[in-house]
Symmetry: C2
Subunit: 221 residues, 2 copies
């Protein structure tokens, strides 16, 4: 272990984080990162598929972990219970106590559309894994997909509230609140009002041209 310092990935991630915070993601080049880490550009791309990926390292196992959490749970457990339990576990073991760090990360991701896309892809990967886990327990495909999407949505929505709050209510509280709100909103057996909503939507859609106009030169970052 004399020729190369053994912590290449750690150095790369640290350097990238620093530079992204200092001068933004788009303005930071890979050579800058590798220079600060004492490595070469080629080495960077041996560790990360692209420049964005350096921000999402460490989450690579989440899909597989999520799938196992769902698939290997006791056979008798009901699906929603699994979602709620997983939500609580993730909230406690992954997020709680790291709020400022998560906030800083969110700021970086928000600053660049490309990073946002990558984040969405990661979420979709976890979602698909959860869905697969449910299918392994015999849950029909559509129900499995809905359970997975709902779980991921509940976590995402509650995380946003958790990060935006002024106080310091734990993430779990927001998750419970989100589930309660979702339930409240879906229990609506009022066909008359539903019909009103339909007609309104149809009115707005019917008369408007759906395809027209063109964007000019796009205002990029």
């Amino acid at each position: 272990m004399s020729r190369w310092r053994p912590d290449a990935r750690e150095r790369l991630e640290r350097a990238a984080l620093e530079l992204f915070a200092e001068q933004g993601f788009a303005a930071t080049t890979v050579p800058q990162i590798t220079a600060r880490a004492g490595l070469t550009t080629r080495t960077f791309f041996r560790h990360y598929a692209d420049k964005r990926e350096v921000l999402f390292a460490g989450e690579h196992e989440l899909p597989e972990l999520a799938r196992r959490m769902i698939a290997e749970a006791p056979p008798a457990a009901d699906p929603l219970g699994l979602i709620v339990g997983a939500l609580r576990t993730v909230a406690d073991t992954w997020f709680e106590g790291r709020r400022d760090e998560v906030r800083r990360r969110r700021e970086i991701v928000r600053s660049d559309p490309g990073l946002g896309e990558r984040e969405l892809r990661k979420r979709a990967g976890i979602c698909e894994a959860i869905s697969a886990g449910f299918r392994e327990r015999g849950v029909p495909a559509m129900t499995a997909a809905l359970l997975a999407e709902t779980g991921v949505t509940l976590l995402h929505v509650s995380i946003q509230q958790w990060l935006d709050q002024d106080g310091d209510r734990p993430l779990g509280h927001f998750a419970e609140e989100a589930l309660a709100a979702l339930r409240a909103v879906l229990h609506v057996p009022d066909p008359a009002v539903t019909a009103t909503g339909m007609s309104a939507a149809a009115t707005l859609t019917g008369g408007s041209t759906v395809r027209s106009g063109r964007p000019r030169e796009r205002p990029r970052a």
Copy 2:
């Protein structure tokens, strides 16, 4: 109208679609597209922010349309009714009758991770627009976000089933089925079964090292 043929965008999109179908998205270069369209590379990027965007042209107004559909509906309408109505409208006016076309598009998007990311971003944009529409009607932020995510999820899940089916049930049927399934799944009390799910999750999470392993050189397209 003699110096330039006036349908630059149409030609670009047609050429891009053809080339993507012929030789794949990644293997197609922008110069190839512009050559077939009789234009230059620079012109391509005047119309589309990046190579992927040429596949998503025409959806640019969807977020604004969605926001208006929600925000400008009759004040008395209940939120879920709006979602259901919008779902039905979109299913009938946007998707119905285009199943093969939508299938082909899905195949292209599936073939490239970058296209998948862009698709997710578009979905997220529509979701945020719907959420904004609900907030304009006074719906609390968390509820608005949940409604929007739920609506988009229902549409997405039902579209997948609709595309995968052998028969030709209309998309609306799948949407109704999805809503019913989501309700059924959420219509569960919170007994001790939740604790079972929790313990299983905790067991799986507790003992495993969360950060380890590294991907080798990634297998790109």
